[in-house]
């Protein structure tokens, strides 16, 4: 569980052109290859899920996270969440990051900001795949060698461009989701 998988599909170049080292990404509530709780989707409270990471390379100054679905989007991936400027010593993200930019970030990730997802919103919005289909949701975590102080609201392409050359480590986890409409899964 939590095996570091290079599944981001992101053409990210590591420091000095080297391939980034891999590290472990886990979650207290999600597991790679298994269905995530509905509270991380619009079938539930649509909270951002908690993540933890360990084994980041020495010299990690900052962390960035992209949640994306390579089975959706024109072109793929459909981006569900982008968050960056995360302190390098944070160790993870708590559940339920505020979607309102006026609400402060949790103290342990003070300074973090959110980028624009596929809906153009600087917030987490969880999986809503077509009924009857199972999708994979890639949480890609990047360890950066520099505190970049990036502005909020970057989209995926802008973030990947901004961190290019600064990625010294990368980890992933890939839970699944399938929608459960109300008449099939009453609360």
């Amino acid at each position: 569980m939590g095996a570091a998988l290079l599944l981001t599909g992101a053409a990210v170049t590591g420091l000095r052109g080297q391939a980034p080292t891999t590290f472990v990404v886990e979650s207290p509530t999600m597991t790679t290859g298994r269905f995530m709780p509905r509270d991380y989707s619009p079938d539930g409270r649509n909270l951002s899920p908690p993540l933890t990471w360990s084994g980041l390379p020495a010299g990690t100054r900052q962390v960035a996270v992209i949640s994306q679905d390579f089975g959706a989007g024109r072109p793929p991936p459909w981006v569900h969440w982008i968050i960056y400027n995360i302190p390098g010593d944070a160790g993870g993200l708590p559940e339920g990051i505020p979607f309102d930019p006026d609400h402060p970030m949790p103290a342990e990730i003070a300074g973090a900001v959110q980028g624009n997802n596929g809906w153009g919103l600087p917030a987490y919005r969880g999986p809503a795949p077509p009924l009857g289909s199972v999708h994979n949701y890639h949480f890609a975590v990047f360890a950066l060698d520099e505190a970049l102080d990036l502005p909020p609201g970057l989209d995926r392409g802008e973030l990947l461009l901004a961190i290019e050359g600064h990625v010294i480590g990368q980890g992933d986890m890939v839970p699944l989701y399938e929608r459960q409409p109300m008449n099939q899964f009453p609360r």
Partner: protein
């Protein structure tokens, strides 16, 4: 200061409306809409009211009556929704203060049954979606959860929950949002923008038949006194 659910003080206006609904909104509504009940909104009563008929411009009473075209329950849900779209805050009065509910009621009176049906089905779906996903009726959710629900409705993510949105949750959201914007910032003649609060929010200098050089200089110096008249107060627009 917020309450235990993190609500801002402005929420007290919604609490007032909720109290009215729980106690039976008919006790608090004017004669023209007393026929409005949970089961049978009084479209007939709405039809009797003439556009331009003076209604109380005080913001308080506007919030305590069921709309003519919606039930008391539907009015509560709609009130909570428009209150989140343009809340009253440090910038000024919000959509409820501007009489957006009255504006929407007039729109529904003039638009026929299809529009009212769209509102009824959408509001019911919104409430069902709130109960299904957040564990309670929309009006009882914290403002954070209300905003989260509305984001999901706006982006269409609520559609697949099977809660009854007709034609997509985003269509319902956009309809209410459009009417809210129109009621907030449109000419007061149409029933909203009470006391010109919407125009004040935008710093709109008002409808003028002419702008003198002095007016232009005052505008550029941010010292132009706004004209607070409806366009229909000018004979040229009659």
């Amino acid at each position: 200061m917020t309450d235990s659910k993190g609500r801002l003080p402005a929420i007290s206006r919604r609490d007032l409306l909720r109290t009215a609904g729980a106690a039976g909104a008919a006790a608090l509504v004017p004669d023209a809409v007393t026929a409005a009940t949970e089961e049978t909104p009084s479209t007939a009563a709405a039809g009797e009211r003439q556009l331009g008929t003076a209604l109380p411009s005080e913001t308080g009473p506007l919030l305590t009556r069921a709309l003519a075209n919606l039930t008391a329950r539907e009015t509560e849900i709609l009130s909570a929704m428009v209150d989140r779209l343009i809340p009253s805050d440090e910038l000024g009065p919000g959509a409820l203060d501007a009489g957006v509910l009255r504006f929407i009621d007039r729109v529904l009176s003039e638009s026929g049954t299809n529009a009212a049906d769209a509102y009824r089905s959408g509001l019911a779906a919104l409430d069902t979606y709130s109960r299904y996903t957040r564990g309670g009726p929309f009006i009882d959710l914290s403002t954070v959860d209300q905003d989260s629900v509305l984001i999901d409705v706006q982006i269409g993510a609520a559609t697949g929950a099977g809660v009854g949105f007709v034609g997509g949750s985003g269509s319902f959201f956009n309809m209410v949002k459009s009417h809210t914007w129109q009621g907030m910032f449109g000419d007061p003649e149409y029933g909203g923008n009470v006391n010109f609060v919407g125009w004040d929010l935008l710093d709109y200098p008002g409808v003028r038949l002419g702008v003198s050089p002095e007016d232009q200089r005052a505008l550029e110096a941010d010292q132009l006194e706004p004209v607070r008249r409806s366009a229909y107060d000018y004979g040229i627009f009659e």
